[in-house]
Amino acid sequence: MHDIIFGIPASYLALAIMGMVYAVIIAEKMNQAVIALVASSLAVLLGLLNQEQAIDAIDFNTLFLLIGMMIIVGIMKETGIFQYVAIVAAKSVRASPRGLLAVLSLITAVFSAFLDNVTTVMLIVPIVILLTEQLKLKPFPFLLAQIIFSNVGGTATLIGDPPNILIGSAVGLSFTDFLFNMGPIILIIIFVMVGVFDVIWGRHLTTSMRARAHLLRYDAAKALKNHVLLVKSFAVLALVMAGFTLGHNFLHIETGTTALAGAALLMFLDGIGHNLSEKNKKAHAAFHEVEWDTIFFFLGLFVVVASLEHTGLLAKAAGMITEVTNGDFQKTGLVILWASTFFSAFVNNIPFVATLIPVIESMGSVFGDGEALNPLWWSLILGACLGGNGTLIGASANVMVASFADRAGHPISFVKYIVYGFPLTLLTIILANIYLMIVYF
């Protein structure tokens, strides 16, 4: 790379390109994938990176993991299993509003730990709207819970939230690493939040016995659509989970390979017993489930961040952070936690996390490489994922729930969300802060 391009220092150019990406994302004037692709094209065309370096910068493991899981979940949701679980749960609490708020929150937390958060709320929120309408309840606390718990649950696993996938893949943190390190604090946060929701809303909710009786007549089994596919999906999902844990830890199979192999197997199984034309249709539909704009958003960001990294700017930024914290490990970790919280409350956390990965990596020179840095990664993950709860635009799942609320005639305003969402977010971050201090610092 040249240090000066068209008379401008390369580092300024790289910074300007990254700045442009952020500006456009904040201004919401352009599709995020398109601006990431425009920016990465500029980075290569201006010579900040050559094509080979750009391709090297793309973390295909992350992309494969995303694509694989999107295909698997896309096929699985046809089975109706998610609605089935929600209805069974509603009946299990005898359709009491208080119990319903708790079980629907828990379901979303668990699902979003294993599925992407937006997919989770897209599957569960229509059921939430149905059940609250049926019980004549104001949907706000239920929808707020969907947002909060989808982001909290997503923090717990390697595949729960894109920042985790990014960090896990870049640093080599495994599925079990996530489960053992993030699992405990997320469980604590979930139980505390269920309690908080119950105190603020749950215990005040009332409905008629008649409405409850009506809900209890729901036949959950009818929500299951395709029993054969259901068995196939669960078999593949079990294999994929085994691949993430046993396969990764003992056979060193990368998570991207596991997810993509799982997707391939499920598509193959889904086609069995159909003629070629139907098989083609099914495969076409499965590939259609991949959110290509998300994939290209990541792809573009990898290149833009690498162009910044090549200029040495990110290493400098790392130096500045450790200077501010006097090279104190705990202080650095907590600065990362709180900074990423506030940042991702307002802006898409993925570019932030993608930029911070090389920054934290270069702190290895101060704090030691490899596992020594792990507490900083956990700080970043907790801040970036839980911070998404801070405002209505903090995470894509929030925006999705808000759009559903709008369509159903119960809009959630930005301010109303902040009044409840922001304090709840602070509570989760304080819990995370305490956990980090006790366990790691």
């Binding site: 149905l130 089994a221 009818k222 929500a223």
Partner: protein
């Protein structure tokens, strides 16, 4: 041949403030399924029919975009739907009509074949408005198109018989 050749010129029309209950009676008396809703200046502001009524009988979760695709797990939901009819009865039709009608609109000069294509896609009848604006002209329906086609067929046959 265009929409104006297959036009139903004086169809039943609705005023926005008419009660849904009265509209349904009107539908029954005149054996129609759908009618245009016009404002005081004869501008088309929406359409209302049995189809829209049926949609409003569903739970909100099934009405919205990306909502529930199956309701077969809801057992005994019919009384609730019946009650919703009772609730809708006194409401003005303007609250329940379809306002998103841009795609349905035909002009008097829309070619007949395009009219038929639109009917196959969006159903029948479809409203015809003046080229610029929303001034209501009439309706075209499956029957009015068929009727016009029969007339054309007769003309064609006479022409064929007369040509050597």
């Amino acid at each position: 041949m265009s929409a104006k050749d297959a036009l139903i010129e004086n169809p039943i029309i609705l005023a926005p403030e008419m009660a849904v209950r009265d509209v349904l009676k009107l539908f029954e008396t005149h054996h129609i399924r759908m009618a245009p809703v016009l404002d005081a200046e004869n501008n088309l502001i929406g359409v209302f029919g049995f189809h829209h009524l049926m949609q409003d009988l569903l739970p909100m979760a099934a009405q919205i975009e990306d909502g529930l695709e199956d309701l077969d797990f809801i057992i005994g939901g019919a009384p609730a739907a019946a009650k919703r009819i009772r609730k809708l009865g006194p409401k003005p039709v303007s609250e329940h009509m379809d306002r998103d009608i841009e795609k349905l609109l035909l002009n008097p000069d829309t070619p007949l074949l395009e009219v038929i294509r639109c009917i196959t896609r969006y159903g029948s009848p479809l409203p015809v408005v003046e080229e610029n604006g929303r001034k209501f002209v009439g309706l075209v329906s499956e029957q009015s198109c068929l009727h016009r086609l029969h007339e054309i067929l007769q003309e064609v046959e006479i022409e064929e018989r007369n040509s050597p």
